[in-house]
């Protein structure tokens, strides 16, 4: 046993890489359909949007890039679908410089194709990307047109029916930010105290721990923490709106629920490696003491 563990400690790391590859790839190709349990922070986010009235406006900010898209894309899609089904109007912006706009365009195009009844400029609008995230947020708190004079296609905001009556973030009923890095935090620290607009965040799993402090202080209405949060949201959506099943039942499309299968196997493999590594470490320590 000891000999095996010592050999394990000297194992070529390419074996670990192979295990990681297989543990992520196999569940994506062959979904396991493992159950997802929901947490309070995700339920609060879901229920907040469920309680909104038709015609209310949600600002959806794409504050992430391709590096975290598998985590953040499903969140943005789920929230946008919920807006569409609840007849909420949504304004899309992107503040992340490394590809945020492209991801926003892709998700908007996908949702517009899924809900052909949605009218651009009436039910939703895409304002595009603006550099200088925190300054843009501050400006939007007073005057959205000051930060985004036109939409992504170059149409002045004054000519967009949806934007009539929405001069600043004070007239927006919710900000949802799918975020990586610091930009999500700025919505809470810069916009919420000044404009009073409720905030829901969808951070990557690695930055989610930070936001528990804001949840506890009541500065956040809810949170979708990483891919698990997105999978929980998908579960809540499917339960509350059975018609959503068509978007999540497909075996071809990537969903957070499917991604969680890979993450579960991956966590198992990593925990196993940590356990074996520690076992081998203790045995080698014991031997050294003798």
């Amino acid at each position: 046993m000891r000999g095996f563990l010592e050999r394990l400690l000297r194992m070529d790391r390419r074996w670990i890489f192979l295990f990681v590859l297989l543990s992520v790839a196999i569940p994506i190709v062959v979904p396991l359909g493992l159950p997802v349990t929901t947490t309070e922070s995700t339920r609060k986010a879901f229920e907040f949007i469920e309680a909104m009235k038709p015609g209310d406006t949600v600002l959806i900010s794409f504050d992430y890039g391709p590096s975290s898209a598998p985590e953040n894309d499903p969140m943005a899609e789920a929230v946008m679908r919920q807006c569409a089904i609840k007849k909420l109007r949504f304004v899309v912006i992107a503040l992340y410089p490394l590809g945020g706009l492209n991801l926003a365009n892709n998700v908007v195009a996908k949702i517009a194709a899924e809900f052909p009844d949605l009218k651009y400029g009436v039910d939703y609008v895409n304002l595009g990307y603006k550099d200088g995230a925190s300054a843009v947020m501050r400006r939007m708190g007073d005057d959205i047109a000051g930060a985004f004079p036109t939409d992504e296609a170059g149409t002045p905001l004054s000519q967009i029916p949806l934007m009539k009556g929405i001069a600043s973030l004070r007239q927006v009923q919710l900000v949802f930010t799918a975020a990586t890095g610091i930009i999500g935090e700025w919505w809470i620290t810069q916009v919420h105290p000044q404009a009073g607009t409720p905030i829901i965040i969808g951070p990557t799993a690695v930055s989610a721990p930070k936001y528990y402090a804001f949840l506890n202080s009541g500065q956040l209405e809810g949170m979708l923490g990483g891919m698990k949060g997105a999978a929980e949201y998908e579960k809540l959506m499917r339960a509350a709106h059975p018609e959503m099943e068509r978007f999540y039942a497909s075996t071809r499309a990537f969903t957070a629920t499917k991604g969680m299968d890979g993450q579960t196997v991956m966590h198992t493999v990593v925990l196993l490696f940590i356990l074996l590594g520690n076992l081998a470490f203790f045995l080698s320590q014991k031997k050294a003491v003798r």
Binding site: R13, S67, D131, A135, R138, A147, E152, L215, G277
Partner: protein
Amino acid sequence: MTSEFGQVALVLCFAIVPIIGIVLGLNAPGLRSRGPVLVGVVAGIIPILAMYIPKGFVSGPEGMGPRLDNWLIILAGFALLLGIVNVLQNNFKKIARRDSGWFFSVVLLIGLFVTGGFGVYGALSKVGIGFNPDGSPTPFKYMTDWFFQPLQSTIFALLAFFMASAAFRAFRARNVEATILLVAAGLVMLGRVPILEFLAVPFPFLHAAASSGSQALGKLTEWIMDVPNGAAQSGIIIGAALGAASMAIRVILGIERGYLGLGKGE
């Protein structure tokens, strides 16, 4: 006082005073830092005043505060330009010297010029960087969809491999602190995913026990994240905010001058 006063005050503070400072600085190097410090002081004070003074010339829609926010957005654009200039300088130097890995600099610069060129073309042709009028992707969008996005995703995905390898080699219970960290991390990793259900897949008689065990672990994980983690995060955030506030006060009072990039004695 009207908004125009605010406009004049801003122009005075951010244009005329710095120009005077530069002119004076040419003859008297000792004065070189005074102008930028003054600009820093005013730029730091105006947003604070705008929060507390409900007067049009400070916090009104055309007042100094919102105007400064607009300028900040423009400045952020220039910061991007500064970054591009820096990338060009460094990589051209590397290629000229034939430093190790100079070929990667060539690839980087080609990527920069081609992608940037498509972006500028999109702006000049008024088509933008998304889709053409016929619904086909613009060259810029093609580049981002088929080059930039897969490359960024690949680089980030590599982390999973190195993280697993590092966890195996370095995550050891060497002392009490490391053991606490290891146990907490293990519990959170277990509780965030349905690991027990996964392990119970081949054993149907264990499914019910695995499900209730998984829920209990989930609750424990939520408690760890909510209470000890939430409290620690609050402390870190408040501490960092106090540090940032004290640094801001030092800049506003002109005590902190490191951002000027001047040598000693200036």
